[in-house]
């Protein structure tokens, strides 16, 4: 282990109000939830920040609740919570599907939805799901609450619209109608980083229903594929939609895969999504 902890500080807020006050007055502070990403950097000696805010005990940030048309998921909800939740299984099964593909059980028990979103990796497994579901990210600061649509949350590679004094407290998801679909293509069958990850919703039962489609690992940020959606909903053929898809995504070669592979598989996945959406 390369990283050292001496010389680093951990602040322990006793409540959410405490936490946002600390962020305002005692920053800069890096919020710490399940640590499944943070501590990898610590172990490798690449973690530069020295001051951290422990969110783990803030139970107000936990909980999954269906309130009428809105599904509310606390930021500290773990992947295991998502997998075992009856509410999620009924209302947002594609989120449970994504959670099942994150790491192994040990990571699922500690990693949080808020952490996945805040970490802002373009390969985050839950991010296409939240994008396709038109999620609202609820941010709290000492100044109050604000909501940012997930589709505007990412402003650049690993950059979010959240201010340094803001915490993600929960996610609000309007009722999803139609068939939900999720697929992750990883480097192996489990414990894998996504080479490409996609989530989609299409309520084909409704006339002129517009699909919702989002993809990760094909751009610096996880992408909502609005142009491709537009093409599909205005009756384009699969081939035409695939052409537009290629213009919309910008995958690269990296350690795990190639641009060529990502482009070809993205096109194939679009085809699979369309075929799946037609199934009863």
């Amino acid at each position: 282990m390369q990283g050292t902890v001496s010389g680093r500080d951990l602040l322990e807020p006793r409540s959410l109000a405490d936490a946002v006050k600390m962020l305002r007055d005692e920053g800069p502070l890096v919020p710490m939830a399940g640590c499944t990403d943070l501590y990898v950097a610590l172990n490798f000696g690449t973690l530069r920040p020295t001051r951290f805010l422990n969110l783990w005990n803030l139970d107000t940030l936990r909980g999954i609740e269906a309130r009428g048309q809105t599904l509310r998921i606390g930021a500290l909800t773990t992947y295991t919570d998502l997998i075992t939740s009856g509410v999620i299984r009924r209302r947002l099964p594609m989120l449970a599907a994504a959670a099942r593909e994150v790491g192994g059980v040990q990571i699922q028990n500690r990693g949080t939805l808020g952490g996945n979103v805040a970490n802002a990796s373009p390969a985050g497994d839950t991010l296409p799901v939240l994008l396709a579901a038109d999620t609202s990210v609820v941010l709290r600061s000492a100044a109050g609450t604000r909501r940012v649509p997930m589709t505007s949350f990412y402003t650049g590679y690993r950059q979010t619209a959240a201010r340094p004094d803001e915490l993600i407290v929960n996610f609000e998801i309007p009722t999803v109608r139609g068939r939900q679909w999720f697929r992750k293509v990883g480097t192996r069958a489990a414990q894998a980083i996504a080479k490409i990850v996609v989530a989609g919703v299409w309520d084909k039962a409704r006339v002129r229903a517009r699909p919702r489609l989002a993809m990760g690992s094909v751009a610096p940020i996880p992408l909502r594929l609005s142009q491709t959606e537009q093409a599909l909903s205005s009756g384009a053929s699969l081939a035409e939609a695939q052409t537009i898809l290629q213009r919309e995504i910008a995958p690269i070669d990296d350690l795990r895969s190639t641009e060529e592979y990502r482009r070809q598989v993205a096109a194939n996945l679009l085809g699979q999504f369309c075929a799946e959406a037609l199934r009863r």
Partner: protein, 717 residues
């Protein structure tokens, strides 16, 4: 030598023991400690007053070292560079080309240059060392290297004659990349200075290799150096020669500072800096008759040795001897060379050259089968070695040759030929590989090693003293079984000494599938002697009356084995194991991922001393072979491993490993203990070509491993 059933009635206390250990799944000697969390690996052992060591390594692949600047307050630090080396600045192995610490130049990224040590790990990590280099042009292409560590030519018959007899000539080129051993416990050692010498504790396979390396490096006589193996969390060859390097580093610090020095690598450093499997380029040009009979084989092998020779000469040797596969062919020319590139040196990994060359020949056999329109199983049946046939080096294989048996058994169990028809045109393919693996050191190697084993009669019973190490494969257990049955005592009465050079003789390294066949046989001879001396007395009774004694036996070459190292002809190995893998692979048409869905193997290993341990070797080695075929890719950029973390170097998880059907056959080797041959390495030779052959059947033509989805996407027919 066969074990006489009547003599099995030995004595335990005053009771007669009739239940034998060999052939039964007796409990692993150290099993309880391992499951209870009590087994002590090197990082678990507490040493007082310890200094932690950090290795400063080259960040460029080829350069002269211009300047080293220590940008920190050196108070409390021990700093070691090449000038501190009391003996010779080499890691003694075969050649003497590898420095322990670079002096004036570096030949690879991650080459060790300076060692820092401090009692406080935070301060140690914070110390900044800046090195200025005068960079040279590195070479990363093994075929364009101007330094060949070793060349070998194997010639049988007359190649031109064989080619002239052929109806068809088939060519192919095959490539295999690096593979990282990925023992779950990284390399680590602790060196403790003592009386002008040093005791080295560590995670290692070969205590006497380390012992020799330290005497040379430190300029110490043998009795001043002691090496003790700690419980070791996997080796697979990755801890065959590398520990000599890390031990040298810790020892240098310990000797300079006069305090124990602890050096445990983290995973990233281990992957960046330590040895891997040699990448290989293998070309085949094969003459065949229309009916499939091989008439001529021309084979060319290039191994990428990395920056220093280490074990390249021997890896090449084993690779070349296995390069023509388990087949009869009268005219063979196989040429191979291991060359230098400016990458971290490659070294031992289970299979040791044979996985690379057998991948090539077995993939090539299916190319031939397709060209001739012959079922791949029939093609192999036609050409498989039979007793009385000669190998590429002219060795006559004996009754213990089981090529046909394993092939037919595997074909029958999997309904191979029927499945070949049934799966045609689907997303699935079924492929097979037929392979063999020589046990023990090549040629005259065992004679050169002159290994010894000892058996001691003690107050507690009987103690095995060998330098063979337990690294998971079951050495302690299997050796104790052999001794127990030969002596006619209970397995529980046999204990195994720690592999400590102060107490055990040099039994040679724990490599080359020799620990049972060679060292086990030595122990059997010790036990036979001890049995004679005990007469009808139990060990306890004898000890009470006469006290203890030690029997030591040294390797004797079995009669009739002849090897000519200059001509590279003769009996390369005392015995061979034989095996056949059949794998069914499914290719996802959307993602191009290839998933092995079923795996069957038939392994003939002479005798399964411990059936469950033998199956464990087969399952584990096969799993590593599947990783080699499909998942495990070392990405090198500028001579540096770019994916040196477990997130990015992918080995199989539970969900990547198919159900495996293992069948063990026994065709005893006369000179093996209870007929046993080796089994440790052979399993990894077969899966990669079986996978590639299954992919071919499914319409994907690849000749390079690992066959990642990116490659499969471009290889569809």
């Amino acid at each position: 030598m066969h074990y006489n059933r009547r003599q099995s009635e030995g004595c335990q206390g005053d009771r007669v023991v009739t239940r034998r250990a060999v052939g039964r799944n007796v409990l692993r000697k150290e099993g309880h400690e391992k499951v209870a969390g009590l087994a002590r690996y090197i990082d678990d052992i507490r040493f007082d007053d310890v200094l932690y060591v950090r290795t400063i390594r080259s960040t460029v692949p080829a350069a002269e070292i211009a300047n080293i600047r220590y940008n920190f307050d050196q108070a409390g630090f021990t700093v070691v560079d090449h000038r501190d080396i009391p003996g010779q600045n080499i890691v003694a192995l075969i050649d003497e080309d590898q420095p322990c610490l670079a002096a004036t130049r570096v030949r690879h990224v991650a080459e060790p240059i300076v060692l820092l040590a401090h009692a406080d790990r935070t301060q140690l990590a914070a110390a900044e060392v800046a090195i200025d280099y005068r960079e040279a042009t590195p070479n990363f292409d093994p075929e364009r290297s101007d330094l060949s560590f070793k060349s070998i030519t194997i010639e049988k018959g007359r190649l031109d004659q064989g080619m002239a007899q052929a109806d068809v000539i088939v060519e192919g080129e095959y490539r295999a990349g690096h593979q990282e051993q990925l023992y779950i416990e990284p390399n680590g050692v602790v060196a403790v200075p003592k009386n002008g010498g040093v005791t080295l504790y560590g995670s290692l396979q070969c205590p006497y290799y380390v012992h020799r390396a330290l005497t040379v490096l430190l300029g110490l006589p043998a009795e001043k150096v002691r090496v003790v193996q700690a419980e070791t969390g996997g080796g697979f060859g990755g801890k065959e020669e590398y520990p000599s390097m890390i031990a040298g580093h810790a020892a240098l610090v310990a000797m300079k500072a006069g305090r124990p020095a602890k050096l445990i690598y983290d995973r990233v450093e281990d992957m960046l800096a330590t040895t891997k499997r040699h990448p290989a380029i293998v070309r085949h040009r094969t003459g065949v008759k229309k009916d499939g009979r091989l008439t001529a084989m021309e084979i060319d092998v290039v191994l990428d040795g990395g920056a220093y020779a280490t074990l390249s000469a021997v890896v090449l040797s084993r690779g070349m001897i296995h390069a023509s596969g388990p087949y009869r062919c009268d005219h063979i020319r196989a040429r191979g060379r291991a060359t230098m590139t400016n990458t971290p040196p490659n070294g031992a990994f289970r299979g040791f050259g044979a996985p690379q060359t057998q991948f090539a020949v077995e993939a090539h056999m299916d190319v031939i089968a397709e060209r001739l329109g012959i079922d791949p199983l029939r093609l192999r049946e036609r050409n498989a070695l039979r007793p009385g046939d000669t190998t590429a080096t002219g060795q006559k294989v004996g009754k213990d040759c089981s090529a046909l048996q394993v092939l037919r058994e595997a074909g029958r169990r999997t309904a191979f030929s029927k499945k070949r028809q049934a799966l045609k045109g689907s997303n699935r393919g079924i492929g097979l590989s037929l392979f063999f693996h020589g046990s023990g050191f090549t040629g005259g190697g065992e004679v050169t090693l002159r290994s010894k084993a000892s058996l001691a009669l003690t107050e507690r019973g009987v103690q095995i003293r060998v330098a063979s190490t337990e690294i998971g494969q079951g050495t302690r257990t299997m050796h104790a079984q052999i001794v127990a049955d030969t002596l006619g005592i209970s397995y529980d009465q046999v204990e195994v000494s720690v592999a400590d050079t102060a107490t055990v003789p040099d039994s040679g390294p724990t490599v080359a599938s020799r620990t049972c066949m060679i060292v086990g046989r030595l122990l059997q001879r010790c036990a036979e002697d001890m049995r004679k001396r005990l007469g009808r007395m139990t060990p306890a009774a004898y000890w009470r009356k006469h006290g203890g004694f030690v029997v030591t036996k040294q390797y004797e070459k079995p009669p009739g084995l002849e090897w000519d190292d200059d001509a590279y002809r003769g009996d390369a190995y005392g015995s061979y194991g034989w095996a056949c893998d059949v794998v069914e692979v499914e290719v996802d048409p959307i993602t191009y991922q290839a998933t092995p869905v079923a795996f069957t193997t038939v392994h003939e290993i002479g005798r399964a001393i411990h059936p469950m341990l033998a199956a464990g070797q087969i399952e584990g080695g096969s799993s590593q072979g599947l990783g080699y075929a499909l998942l495990e890719e070392v990405v090198m950029r500028g001579g540096r491993m770019a994916n040196a973390q477990l997130t990015n170097y992918i080995i199989p998880t539970t969900l990547d490993t198919p159900p495996m059907t293992i069948k063990i056959l026994e065709n005893p080797y006369t000179h093996g203990p209870f007929g046993a041959k080796g089994v440790g390495e052979m399993p990894i030779d077969g899966p990669a070509p079986a996978v590639v052959n299954a992919l071919r059947h499914a319409g994907v033509v690849v000749s390079e491993i690992p066959t990642t989805p990116e490659k499969i996407m471009k290889a569809r027919r």
